[in-house]
């Protein structure tokens, strides 16, 4: 766990000279998270609540989220959007049956899975593999996953979130809504929000993954 003894983890910002958002350190974190999760795209957002709002706003069709989580309830209320809340209490994962039912409704629908916590990405993947939601189902069914990186979690960026997904078009859309293109070319979006993550936050997250930003 990163603590006050690790204050020198921020030195690379002074070395790189990039101290705004989405610089080399953010790109390193995105690469690390996509490699570990198996998803093809990672969109980092500096604030979890904004990540949830952005994701729910851009998803089409009936959206299924856990009903236990204040973050999704708040986002739903903020967006004034109707969501399906059929989730299992033990781990807050959306239950498979609800996904299957939802999937029959329309081909264009998108489903958000919201995870409450995970010890690490590897553990999280293992949890899914052991569970009725296999990696295959995840890839075929879930359009995106929001992976929180906040205090008390193994990966802590002091409030950021990683949106993991494999749809390149949706990832590009989210990056542009976020206000910082990051990887990939700019695409046109109807409106933007500031969801930028700082290099300092990404250094914290990399430290939690025991990854040196220079690797």
């Amino acid at each position: 766990m990163v603590n006050g003894d690790h204050a020198d983890i921020f030195k690379p910002i002074w070395t790189s000279g990039w101290f705004t958002n989405h610089g080399p350190i953010a790109r390193r974190l995105e690469k690390e998270l996509t490699a570990r999760s198996g998803f093809r795209e990672c969109v980092l957002v500096g604030v979890e609540a904004i990540g949830v709002v952005m994701a729910l706003d851009c998803l089409i069709g009936k959206i299924c989220v856990p009903n236990h989580c204040s973050m999704t309830i708040n986002a739903q209320s903020f967006l004034n959007k109707t969501l399906c809340s059929d989730a299992r209490g033990a781990d807050w994962l959306v239950i498979r049956s609800s996904l299957e039912v939802t999937n029959k409704a329309t081909e264009r629908q998108k489903i958000a899975l919201y995870l409450s916590d995970a010890a690490s990405i590897q553990t999280y993947t293992a949890l899914l593999l052991k569970d009725e939601l296999s990696a295959k189902i995840l890839a075929q069914t879930a359009n995106l996953i929001l992976f929180p990186m906040r205090s008390g979690f193994t990966i802590d960026s002091q409030g950021g979130v990683a949106i993991l997904l494999s749809d390149a078009g949706l990832a590009a859309h989210l990056r542009n809504v976020r206000s910082s293109y990051g990887a990939g070319a700019p695409v046109s979006v109807g409106k933007t929000a500031n969801g930028r993550i700082s290099e300092a936050q990404c250094l914290l997250a990399l430290s939690g993954l025991n990854v040196s930003p220079g690797n």
């Binding site: 604030v47 309830i73 933007t192």
Partner: protein, 396 residues
């Protein structure tokens, strides 16, 4: 005939692809304190009591702005979103705001479900004014969103008076006016609330972040739960928009060093004023030095006498790695959006839209950089027609 000027023009980055600067010079403030000065604060920001760093920043900002309340938020954009969401009059849908402003200002209004209603700006200040508000105000307006312009401030007293007359709440977007004293008052305590950014490009660099200031207890009581994400409270809408302690730590150090930061900006501004004095068709928008100002941004106006358009000038300077930027271009009412907007009379905005540009400034710019920038600017302006012709020829 190959003249000296032709030879010089041929060497422009616009035509050769070879920039004058190897490292880009930007229009962002980008003030970075020494790492050693931040280390103790970073240590606290990673410790078990890291919320105390955020509290300390809020306390210091209250003192700095001479206000009763400061509410830190994850960034300036969401400080404004939540202020509009909480403070707009219920049952009304329009937010009155200028079009010649920050490129995402209408977007942030749309996140609240309100409709941006664009009004014109005043020609000298380039800011929303009592007159431009009066021209567009109606019974559907829920709130006036008044951003201070890049250089100097808007007429705060006048805007407060007109809003009071119409019983309308007003919020000031003070992102570019952190340090300013406006009409004898420190920026921070006007309207119902004022919103600020701690992005690295702003005067106080917190890596990222924002805050809201107010002197009104009821406003603070309404806004704090709205940005806390606490569902047990009374807030109709709430999102957890906490400022990360590490950003607060960086901002505290930035705030401590603000005078050095402003002094450097003043040196750069003075260098530009002296160097641009004789250049035909180019005029600098001067800071009102009768009141306290940060000298943070360098804004110039390009008139027809320059012989080159603002847009080609920006392009030519960008090709030299001089990251000059067109000023708030295009204005918001000319942009396609996914949401409904309302547009009033825009004569001044449209006239100004293609005339202004920002030149490099901030901590990473030096006076010797300015010498090179102004030399190139002079070359481009004095040979404006030739540059335009060569550019047209190059692009068919």
């Amino acid at each position: 005939m190959v003249t000296k000027e032709t030879k010089l023009l041929e060497n422009l980055g616009l035509f050769t692809g070879m920039p004058s600067f190897t490292v880009p010079v930007s229009t962002s403030n980008l003030y970075l304190p020494e790492y050693s000065a931040c280390e103790a604060l970073f240590r606290r920001a990673l410790g078990p009591d890291n919320h105390s760093v955020v509290e300390e920043l809020e306390k210091r900002l209250c003192e700095f702005h001479s206000v009763k309340h400061c509410i830190s938020v994850c960034n300036g954009f969401w400080a404004l979103v939540m202020s509009v969401a909480v403070l707009a009059k219920g049952g009304r849908e329009e937010v009155l705001m200028p079009s010649l402003t920050y490129r995402r200002l209408a977007d942030l209004v749309s996140w609240t479900g309100k409709v941006p209603h664009f009004c014109d700006v005043e020609a000298t200040s380039l800011a929303i004014s009592p007159k431009s508000i009066e021209a567009q105000v109606n019974e559907r307006v829920a709130l006036v969103l008044a951003p201070h312009p890049i250089v100097n401030c808007c007429d705060v007293d006048g805007i407060e008076a007109v809003c009071s007359r119409h019983d309308l709440p007003v919020i000031f977007d003070s992102v570019e006016s952190v340090y300013e004293i406006c009409q004898g008052r420190r920026v921070g305590g006007a309207g119902l609330a004022e919103c600020f950014s701690l992005h690295a490009s702003k005067l106080i660099n917190g890596f990222e972040g924002g805050y809201i200031t107010t002197n009104l207890d009821w406003v603070a009581e309404a806004l704090r739960p709205a940005v806390s994400g606490e569902t047990s409270g009374t807030a109709a809408v709430t999102l957890d928009l906490a400022l990360p302690p590490i950003h607060a730590a960086m901002a505290i150090q930035g705030l401590k060093e603000i005078e050095e930061n402003v002094l450097h900006n003043k040196t750069l501004y003075s260098a530009y004023v002296g160097a641009l004095e004789q250049l035909p068709g180019v005029s600098i928008v001067e800071f009102m030095t009768t009141e306290r100002t940060s000298y943070k941004n360098i804004l110039i106006k390009i008139d027809k006498a320059a012989g080159i358009t603002r847009d080609l000038l920006v392009r030519a300077l960008n090709a030299e790695n001089i990251l000059a930027r067109a000023y708030y271009s295009p204005p918001l009412h000319q942009k396609a959006t996914a949401y409904r907007t309302i547009c009033g009379e825009m004569a001044v905005t449209e006239d100004a839209a293609d005339k202004y540009m920002l030149l490099p400034c901030g901590a990473n710019t030096s006076t010797s950089d300015i010498t090179i920038i102004v030399e190139l600017l002079t070359l481009l302006v004095e040979n404006g027609r030739a540059v335009e012709a060569a550019w047209k020829k190059k692009n068919g």
